[in-house]
Amino acid sequence: MIFGSHPIRGFYEVPMREVGANVPYEWLIYFIMFIPIGFILYGMWKRIEVWMLAKGDIHRNDRVWDRVVSFLVNTFGQARVIRKPLPGWMHFFLFWGFAFLATAAGLDAAHYWIHWPHLEGNLYIGMSWIVDVTGFLALIGIMVLAYIRYIQKPERLNDTKSSDGWIILLVFGILFTGFVIEGARIAAQIQQTPFLEQVPYEKIASPFGWMFASIMGGMSVDSLLMWHRLLWWFHMSIAFLFLALIPFTKLWHIFAGMFNYAFRDLEPSANRMVYNIEEAETFGVENIEDFGWKDLLDLDACIRCGRCQENCPAYNTGKHLNPKITLIQHMKEHLDAKAPYLIAKKGEDVPHEEMAMTDEAAAEAVNPMEQSLLYDVVTTDVIWDCTNCRACMEHCPMYIEHIPKITEMRRNLVMWQGDMPGEAQAAFTNMERNYNPWGVGWAGRAGWLQERNVRDIVNLLPEDGGEFEYLLYAGCAVSFDDRYKRVGEALVRLLDKAGVKFGYLGTEEYCCGDSARRLGNEYLYQTLANSNLESFNNYGVKKIIVVCPHGYNTLKNEYPQMGGKFEVYHYTEILAKLIAEGKLKPTKSLAVNMTYHDSCFLGRHNNIYNEPRSVLKTAGGNVIEIEKGRNFGFCCGAGGGRMWLEEEAVEGYKRINDTRTDQLLEPKPQMIVTNCPFCLTMISDGVKGVEADVEDPTKVFDVAEVLWQAMN
């Protein structure tokens, strides 16, 4: 015994590692360990206290098994994280390395306190091997991540803080010293064993420890033992520091992330419902604490990886909105500054230096109680910039819900503050009075049937009242946009040709309300939705074909919140089905090269990527896949009600639609195809600008038109 510890022995009868050998007072660690555990518990409680400030109503206790699966797949499978391969897999290694290291350390502690389990023989070799290999992969992982952050410097990591570096260093330090200790121990064992053949099991149990041992082979036993002893304490100290820091640093994402995986939104893409709006006394979110607990949890889960930012059309065209920084992180900073006041139930008369949880917060010039979430923290520019394209939510490895937060803040601006862009006002008034955002007289809603000469093949329910299988919900664009009326014509001709029995509501059809809802006017949305639901009920509608993806998403995913019970299909789904059933056979192959624009509401919001492509292929279209396609599709700029707002191009950037048009024109297609009236307008406008001087500019068509072209 040296200073009360066991010496490292040359060999053991059975493969094992003697915990604490060569480390005097090693047993102290089993008492000290309660300090970091205490920190974690305390810190966790402080965060829970913050989440409990949330006043919003969010329920996430349904579908328990789906939540368990989401938790397991995303935590242990790191399913969303590895979608971005290099940093994703490195993080995967880091996660599993630490998971096993922590498990091994935990087993050691368990053995000390309850004398179980005994890690000996093959169990030791197996356990040691896993920890050694995953630990080494984690070591590689942290080095690659450091390389990415500091050498490669991708734009998405544009807010690197000194704490990011310290944490990388800490993680690296824990892993690296771990291997040095192991190497020193094995080297000491090798030098002391009389029976060399007894030690090599370590070569299997700790392949990378053996590697470190070989490097240290030249050192004397004494110095090996001294370094082992010193680094052991150092290793344990920084490991405990790491644990203690978890709730107080970005490391908190480990737990917040796990919670987020379990409590994420499992419902299809829908805005949150406001029940009993007639009796509501407040609307949307005015203060940070008006959000729901899951929203505040989201803020904790954000690890600032910037995948949202990287895919955000607003950010990429120079707007104020950056989902990472100007939305989530600004809200997080504000929450952390304001929470102490709210918890202590103290008002703004208390100097904020007194209440601040961090030095940064104390150094802030403003009292958070005097700050307005909407006007100072997030700002209205940011709130109105969002196109609801869902790229941030699609790519966030933490399932943070950005759009619902934006919507809640818009709701407050519109319904409570009465503060909105003038164009939004006009769109609301139009929807209110004429049930379409353009404000064309509602009485002319069915006029497109005559104009496009298809009245005789359409069962106009209020007049004809015949039987029908599907209701065709044409939407505002088919009704009023001269360009899109042609798409409506192509579609009804296709349905007629395939013998589909469909009915159409004409003037009894109203705007779906998507734009109103996403611009924050929940009241108007519900009024319009109720009018539609009443019409659907009157005619006993069971299946609906929707032309516009915005209507499709709204009817399919949002109307059920208001009691809608019917099957909803996008017309591209129906066309693909009719083709598969042999009811629609193109008479010729168009044989054209085309690029296809995935609309956000068909794509990311509803995962429909293949049906439109298969329809185009049937028509003889050669779809050239572009880099920003499918779930990486770049928005046209019109979602989230932005169709009705003016977009000012920022100096040095193009507008969103022009940016997207460039991407679609890049492979020099003969035509661009889309599936949404808003996209069609935005992209057509983009082409007019980009190809202003081109003799024969690239044509932009809708999927239905392309198929109809191949039928004639």
Binding site: A426, D481, R483, W644, A649, T681, D685, K688
Partner: protein, 317 residues
Amino acid sequence: MAGTWVFVEQKDGNIRKVTFEMLSECKKGGDEVAAVVFGQGVEGLAPELAKFGADKVYVADDAIFANYNTGAYVAQIVAMIKEFSPNAVLFAHSFNGRDMASRLAQKLDTGLATDAVAAEISAGKGIFTRAIYAGKALAKVEVAGSPVLATIRPGVWEVGSTAGAGAVVKAAVAATAADVYQIMKEFRPTVSARPDLAEAAVVVSGGRGCKGPDGIKLVEQLADMLGAAVGGSRASIDSGWLGHELQVGQTGKVVLPNLYIACGISGAIQHLAGMSSSKFIAAINTDTEAPIFGVSDFGVVSDLFKVIPMLMTELKK
């Protein structure tokens, strides 16, 4: 009780065309037609008024009438109506005409048909046709009174060539400074500034087809010739050819003119939403497929750089 009076719309001695239209139309009837002109140094206008049918020209000439003001003008005409008892008094449906006629009608405790597009006047009674609901319906109304009062929409009647005697009758100045309750602080005549887009009777708009400031200059020249406002589609605003406040469409201004002339505008729905309720729409565009032709009353498939200069020459004829 005799004669139909036409209140003369003039500014600085320039008589507006609508005055001649009213005189000519009234001259078609058998009744005596009189022009009533208020102002300072306006007696010399009598021959011009006679040329278009004024049998008599009542002149109230005084410094108090130098600029239009409701109080003095109404006081004066009330006195003259008492003295001469006309059967009817017609005003132009202009800012001043309707302002004066309304105050006068109330002062006389009588009815008034404003913005009439047709008239049948008999003794003590007038039947007028008025466009209501922005021209989407017509109302035929009967106004009884002595005199019968109405304001007439400019441009609905032809200027004729039947002259009247044009005998000048100088009216005693009845208005006093006490009648003036509006003090004109400033008058900024419309010279370069065009009418407000939202209110203009004629709007000439330029779009992407204008290709640059040169094309917009043509649009502006045409607009000035028609006393029209200039507007633009988003393309021409974006390119910086026109100011932001001149954007017509969903995200710009909604206009309701009598005539909208779209030059080089294809007519995307976002633009149509701002102008498709115009009473008349003319379009000049090289693309025969352009949606603007779907809403236009008169479409010209041609190059605006050729058509606009020729159009201006034709209009001047």
